[in-house]
Symmetry: C2
């Protein structure tokens, strides 16, 4: 049971690398799973990555390469010679090959493509045409098909021949002469069938599929919803062009979730792993949002200027500004998080606008009442005068109500407009609520104090 | 291709329900996928849910029930009679049965258990013992095993008999007389083997497994990492006790991601779908965090009191308080989001403490410099005097540096201490940074203005 020892092996591999003990390294690598070796290579320096990869040979070399993350693959390709690169490209499964080529400079791709074997070249050219984030960009063309008139036992014999070239044989696809998809049969049903039963009688004609230009996230979630291990991808003539397998769908869902989380945290989504992202790319990404939010909140400065009189007459008002501002932001954060996540996993749909709005407004009122009372008591107990304490309480009520309402309503309205609800980041909602909070607070205070 | 019509069907079903047109309803349901019907039931009222379920019969009834979400299942069980409930419990696969029983009142479980068939009862009692969030709590006991001395062709015949009782037959498990797991063979390898080859010669002895008391998220991520469709679960004597399938692992990963997202948004994780969560449960959850954060930031009030002198001598200082406070919070949000997510997906590990800390501090310095210069210029151009403008710039530099450093370092330190890094929510970091920001700002101002 390797997973219990894989951590130990990784430490041994690192030690062997540090000591440049290649014999020991080869031995340790021979015992490790390809996925563990790939993880090692992902974390290693550029030099060590090449050393590690070169200790492998035969099918293991390509198997490990397939599990290495894209950024490291690109890095490695830069250090390998053209012959090695071509060999790798030919051995990779079609979806991984296209992913890699998509990241290489177009000039490099132009020089590499003509050197590849014809079958792989034609296929790659076709796959490279599909837009990013479509089903076409994550599908593989290595699927198993069977003739419709086979019997179950003929089909099994047939399958033994084509299995090595297929990424999965757990579903087998039945197409007619023009490659139109007619049905699907699972390996389980094939094995359980009587030997003389015909494929056309046992295949499932009522299958779930995806169009080649559909969004990859939609397709991945469909595969998850129906508990499929692969989903066939068809063009608009209903011809089978590829399949998306469950492992690739899981990767897509993981990526899209990272995007959502990043957006909620006020970042443009970052596709590369944190430690592999270039410092200045990350800095540019972050500074952009910080400045947008900075100028968003800068309105509070202009607003506060109008209240100089009020402030001077009761400096105590200032003490509570951060509390009011941040409470509004926090309730907004909670709502935007709840609704964005519920939309992402499908618990809430665009048509649920009304119950969601009703709920968030009532919730905002309840939470605002709680915090308002608490804020009033807190200010008053601290020895603040009654008017200022009351202004604090009322402002807290208003700001929490606004935070919850805006944070809850904006994402679902964006969804209704067919926009990504996650672009409404928590900090963005917080900034909007900040400005509103300052206005409520000082307006209430001005009235109460005059 | 049903997914293209599933939305249409759902609308038809809703219409038929509203019109109480049962014939039309039955017809529409007959064409729909079990998962789509389950989704319909999840979204329907308690009454309609029962009507929908009662239109189904035979295996479809149980198939649909399995896809209904847990909260709705519990609701439904409350409205069905005991005989129906027992039948459902017996038909559900063992993992789903245990999930459901776990949510029912203990008294109900006590009365139901003795009524179940003996085999299911014994199995259920065993499964109910495993702690929540362990591999044992999500595994199923309906797996396929084969005797080690079978030949491939004997094995296939054997498999045809046991397949109907197995949740998956894509992996078959080879155990000895005392049920110790000796090897695994995939259906693919079995089909591709020569008929006379012995199982023991073709099975994989070097398999990935999980212990029954391991954390479910760890096990789900292991399954994803090694691209498995199921992972065997063993006890500490290495006896096979169950398997976790890929669809259940995907559900676990989805749940755990929801937890992380909720924590980042300052909520205690909520397991029930948004619209199914009771209003007051949600309110309690939210008010708890709002109060914690409120009292966290309340220190700024006490701090500001000390600076009454400074504020009175330059009211302009107040105008920039929200900007400074929120910029610190935003840079903290970005860091905590980046690092928490990178830790969750494994891009960053606890041992990467040093490079992460170095990176976030340098990043904080760069971002702080940018925002500091921008803030100084903004204040100065607006006609603020030089000292106050300088205080604004320096405070922004300090607060962004603190935000980035604290937001980046806290999650990875929590991880090093084996705590959940996601408990360090963005708003919590923002609150800490708020207090620090106010202190920096007014201390700098006091020095510059005196």
């Amino acid at each position: 049971m390797k997973q219990q020892t894989s951590e130990k092996l990784l430490i041994e591999i690192e030690k062997a690398l540090a000591e440049k003990n290649l014999d020991f390294l080869k031995n340790a690598l021979a015992q490790a799973h390809p996925q563990d070796i790939a993880e090692c290579i992902n974390h290693a320096s550029a030099e060590d990555a090449v050393i590690l990869l070169n200790q492998l040979s035969g099918p293991r070399y390509f198997e490990v390469f397939e599990y290495i993350n894209l950024e490291t693959q690109v890095q490695l390709i830069g250090q390998l010679n053209r012959k090695q690169t071509i060999k790798i490209l030919e051995e990779l499964s079609s979806d991984d090959r296209v992913d890699l080529l998509d990241r290489l400079p177009p000039k490099t791709v132009e020089t590499l493509l003509p050197l590849m074997a014809q079958a792989e070249r034609e296929e790659t050219k076709k796959l490279l045409q599909y837009g990013e984030d479509t089903a076409g960009s994550i599908m593989t063309t290595e699927y198993a098909t069977l003739p419709i008139h086979d019997t179950a036992s003929e089909a099994l014999q047939h399958l033994q021949k084509i299995a090595p070239q297929s990424e999965t044989i757990y579903y087998i696809y039945i197409v007619d002469q023009s490659r139109v998809l007619k049905g699907i049969i699972s390996l389980k049903d094939l094995v359980l069938a009587y030997p003389y039963q015909r494929i056309e009688d046992i295949m499932n004609r009522d299958f779930i599929s995806a169009f080649v230009d559909e969004d990859q996230e939609v397709v991945a979630r469909r595969l998850a919803k129906y508990d499929l291990m692969a989903i066939p991808v068809i063009d608009h003539d209903h011809k089978l062009v590829g399949i998306v397998t469950v492992d690739d769908a899981m990767d897509v869902i993981k990526e899209e979730q990272t995007e959502d989380v990043h957006r909620l945290g006020a970042l443009e989504p970052i596709e590369t792993p944190y430690l592999k992202t270039k410092f200045w790319d990350l800095a540019k990404n972050r500074i952009l949002w910080l400045l947008i939010l900075f100028f968003g909140v800068s309105f509070t400065g202009t607003a506060l200027k109008h209240f100089s009189q009020t402030i001077q007459s009761a400096v105590a008002l200032v003490f509570f500004v951060p509390m009011i501002v941040s409470s509004g932001g926090n309730s907004g954060s909670q709502s935007v998080t709840l609704i964005t996540r519920a939309l992402a996993v499908g618990d809430v749909k665009a048509k649920d606008l009304f119950p969601v709005v009703l709920r968030e407004i009532s919730m905002g009122a309840v939470l605002g009442l709680c915090l308002g009372v608490m804020g009033f008591l807190y200010a008053f107990v601290l020895g603040t005068n009654f008017s200022v304490s009351l202004a604090v309480g009322l402002a807290l009520f208003g700001v929490v109500l606004c935070g919850s309402s805006i944070g809850g309503i904006l994402p679902i309205i964006l969804k209704k407009l067919n926009l990504d609800p996650a672009i409404m980041s928590s900090p963005l909602v917080a900034s909007i609520v900040d400005v509103i909070g300052v206005l409520i607070y000082f307006n209430v205070a001005r009235v109460l104090l005059s």
